[in-house]
């Protein structure tokens, strides 16, 4: 776990940053919330590209499981949302289906779906942010890249979660098509990683909880959770994403994320 990875140096730096944030006297809770979110974003900048093999386990209210195998290719885009290409390996009837998305900061995302049996690339309306991804408890917006411009922030309190010191911040989506009115996130004070998020639906009642487990360090800089579980409190369903074989700097470029590469991705 993360707290075993503490080094004195990192601890000292985080105490310094923490105290730095606190000592700014005029800082409002909104400003502090924004600062924490910004630090989270800054620390996860510069990873360029990645490929993740992912197993999704969907559980219904009775505990029945169904498995999906997907590969996620991601390209970091400076000053805009990231680009993502998701290729479906299982279930077998969806094999070769691929989903391309360009996240944007200030406008609706662009999305395309490739249907291999028809050889057809279908452009899809991206206003379905709140819709489930592949029947899972993750919605499209849960999987799109984290951008500061997509939210207004507010610092709530400090808390302890799994033995670690956390900031608890509220995030309010700025996009009216978001399925949420509010997110409450537990961000650790050491590495600024998100460990838990409560999602509140349009009626402001708690809808889902995300927990991220077993953060691992890559390239000495970037932390990625080994698994993430989303529980839907209203339906009892849950989805776990297990990320294995995470690779960075695979030499992906813009040309790996367009309609042509979508057609040949499999």
């Amino acid at each position: 776990m993360l707290n075993k990875n503490y080094s004195v140096g990192v601890f000292a730096i985080s105490v310094f940053i923490t105290s730095g944030l606190i000592t700014v006297q005029a800082q409002t809770s909104e400003e502090k919330g924004f600062e924490i979110a910004k630090e989270r974003k800054v620390r996860d900048t510069g990873w360029n590209d990645s490929i993740q093999q992912t197993t999704m386990i969907l559980r219904n209210g009775k505990g029945k499981e169904s498995i999906r195998e997907i590969r996620i290719k991601s390209l970091e885009v400076a000053d805009d949302g990231d680009k993502g290409l998701t290729i479906f390996d299982k279930p077998a009837d969806l094999k070769g289906t691929a989903f391309l998305s360009f996240s944007h900061i200030n406008k609706a995302d662009d999305q395309w779906l490739y249907l291999p049996s028809l050889k057809r690339v279908k452009r899809i309306s991206s206003r379905n942010k709140a819709g489930p991804f592949m029947g899972s408890e993750f919605s499209y917006e849960d999987l799109s890249s984290f951008e500061l411009e997509k939210f207004k922030f507010n610092y709530l309190k400090d808390d302890v979660l799994n033995g670690s010191q956390m900031y608890v911040i509220e995030s309010f989506p700025t996009d009216k098509n978001s399925g949420y009115t509010k997110l409450i996130s537990w961000v650790d004070q050491d590495q600024y990683l998100v460990h838990k998020v409560d999602f509140y639906d349009r009626k402001a009642s708690r809808l889902k909880t995300l927990t991220a487990n077993n953060y691992k360090l890559y390239l000495n800089k970037f932390w990625r959770a080994e698994s993430m579980t989303m529980i839907n409190h209203q339906t009892g369903k849950s989805t776990t994403m297990n990320y294995h074989d995470v690779k960075f700097n695979q030499g992906l470029t813009e040309s790996d994320f367009n309609k042509n590469s979508l057609k040949r991705s499999r």
């Binding site: 077998a92 094999k95 452009r123 206003r127 819709g131 489930p132 499999r266």
Partner: protein, 443 residues
């Protein structure tokens, strides 16, 4: 038939070739389909039920910036020998670079944006016998060069071999059936002709305008570009039409037997097409249009246009509902009554030949697609086609699909047909309402 022999040779050598490669991946599907026709057929020899099996393995090999895909297809049908067929859907080598891509072999290309029919999509022949809709295609030999630029993408296709349509056999449904002559030729049959005209399609020897028949080299090209929420494609095709015309041979025997034979004839055409769509919030507006000319066809323009509107998470559920409304139009005349004395057979032949048998010359389609977004990927599509040229001419269709277990897809489809006017091209299929259940296992 020549093509099928070549197919078998290519297929067997490819299996040996790809099997010897190490980094290959095998997948595919096996399907079992049963169809029940609800109404008594027009002709007693036509079947009431049909069972069929299809097998579609896929061998894929990938190297650095290159790949090879081999996908044969076999269907066996309990009733229709014509529907039992073998095809190579794909056997294609691809090599790609950042700004261009080259493919050679038997392939499949999709062009278009609309949902109900794709006028611009003329590279591959429809596998009309496999499915009644136009979603199944025969493999097309091709050399394809594509280039990707800031100003759009360009595809150039050289298509060295043509695939004629496979028509259903005598025992199958959805084939031409006899029509009362006095209705087709009001007031002029004078008791001279037969009571019924029984149209048969003789597919044994399709003819071509091209001198070298099916070996004519067809050319096709398309430019596509996206500007924000707007996608546009301009396409061109020059070569043998995928849609046959028919040579009609009513002769003196016709007067006693009523038997009229249609022989498919594939004219050379030149076609320009445009396909475009615009996304605005939950709306997608779509248009496809073509202009087709040729020495042996009546030149025409056609379009299909409409919209898709999506309701996401209806009533706070997981269910998405998409509304699809499309209208199709074609500048050619609708089928005319015969207007010649039955003794003037040459004129009768000419009049039948000059008809447009398209079912999409003045047609509205309305459908709703329900995507349940559940773990089983369940979907329901309900819709109707209304042919505005004829009174009470419509079809209603329902499609459902879901997954059972990890790898079996179950689908059910029902289609109901109404047609009262013998001049409606769908009239011959008016008794062909059916329910179909399919199970497909994927590996």
């Amino acid at each position: 038939m020549k093509y099928n022999h070549r197919l078998m040779v290519i297929a067997s050598s490819l299996i040996i070739f790809t099997g010897s490669l190490s980094a290959t991946e095998l997948s595919g599907s096996v399907g079992l389909e049963t169809r029940f026709f609800i109404q008594t057929p027009v002709e007693s020899e036509q079947t009431d039920e049909q069972v069929s099996l299809n097998f579609s393995p896929e061998i894929y090999w990938e190297g650095d910036d290159q790949s090879f895909l081999f996908k044969p297809y076999v269907r066996l049908d309990s009733v229709d020998a014509n529907r039992s067929h073998v095809d190579i859907r794909e056997a294609i080598y691809s090599t790609y670079y950042d700004s261009f891509e080259v493919k050679i072999g038997i392939g499949k290309v999709f062009w278009g944006v609309t949902e109900t029919l794709n006028l611009v999509d003329v590279v591959n022949q429809n596998d009309a016998i496999d499915r009644f809709d136009e979603n199944e295609k025969l493999g097309q030999p091709m050399l394809q060069f594509s280039t990707f630029n800031d100003w759009g993408n360009v595809e150039l296709l050289i298509l060295p071999f043509f695939r004629p349509v496979i028509f259903p056999g005598d025992e199958a449904r959805f084939r031409p059936t006899p029509i009362v002559l006095s209705v087709l030729n009001p007031g002029l049959s004078n008791g001279m002709g037969p009571e019924y005209i029984d149209i048969k399609i003789d597919n044994s020897d399709p003819t071509y305008e091209a001198k070298n028949d099916e070996s004519h080299i067809d050319l096709a090209s398309r430019w596509t570009h996206s500007i924000d929420n707007w996608d546009i494609g301009l396409s061109w095709f020059n070569g043998t039409s995928r849609d046959p015309s028919f040579n009609v041979s009513a002769d003196v025997d016709t007067l006693s037997t009523g038997q009229v034979t249609l022989k498919p004839f594939y004219p050379l055409i030149n076609q320009f097409g445009i396909d475009t769509q615009y996304l605005y919030e939950d709306w997608i507006l779509k248009l496809e249009s073509i202009n087709r000319t040729g020495n042996k066809i009546k030149n025409y323009t056609a379009f299909v246009t409409g919209f898709e509107y999506n309701f996401y998470g209806v009533r706070d559920s997981m269910v998405d509902v998409g509304m699809i409304v499309e209208y199709a139009w074609d500048s050619r005349d609708k089928i005319k009554s015969l207007n010649a004395d039955m003794s003037n057979l040459a004129e009768i032949n000419h009049q039948i030949e000059s008809n447009n048998f398209s079912m999409n010359r003045n047609n509205v389609s309305i459908a709703s697609r329900f995507t349940l977004n559940d773990a089983e990927s369940s979907e329901l599509l309900v819709g109707t086609n209304q042919n505005l040229d004829y009174k009470n001419a419509r079809t209603i269709f329902i499609d459902m699909s879901t997954r059972i277990g990890d790898a079996t897809k179950i689908s059910a489809n029902a289609t109901f047909i109404w047609s009262e006017d013998p001049l409606d091209p769908v009239y011959m299929f008016r008794k062909d309402d059916y329910i179909q259940v399919t199970a497909e296992y994927y590996f």
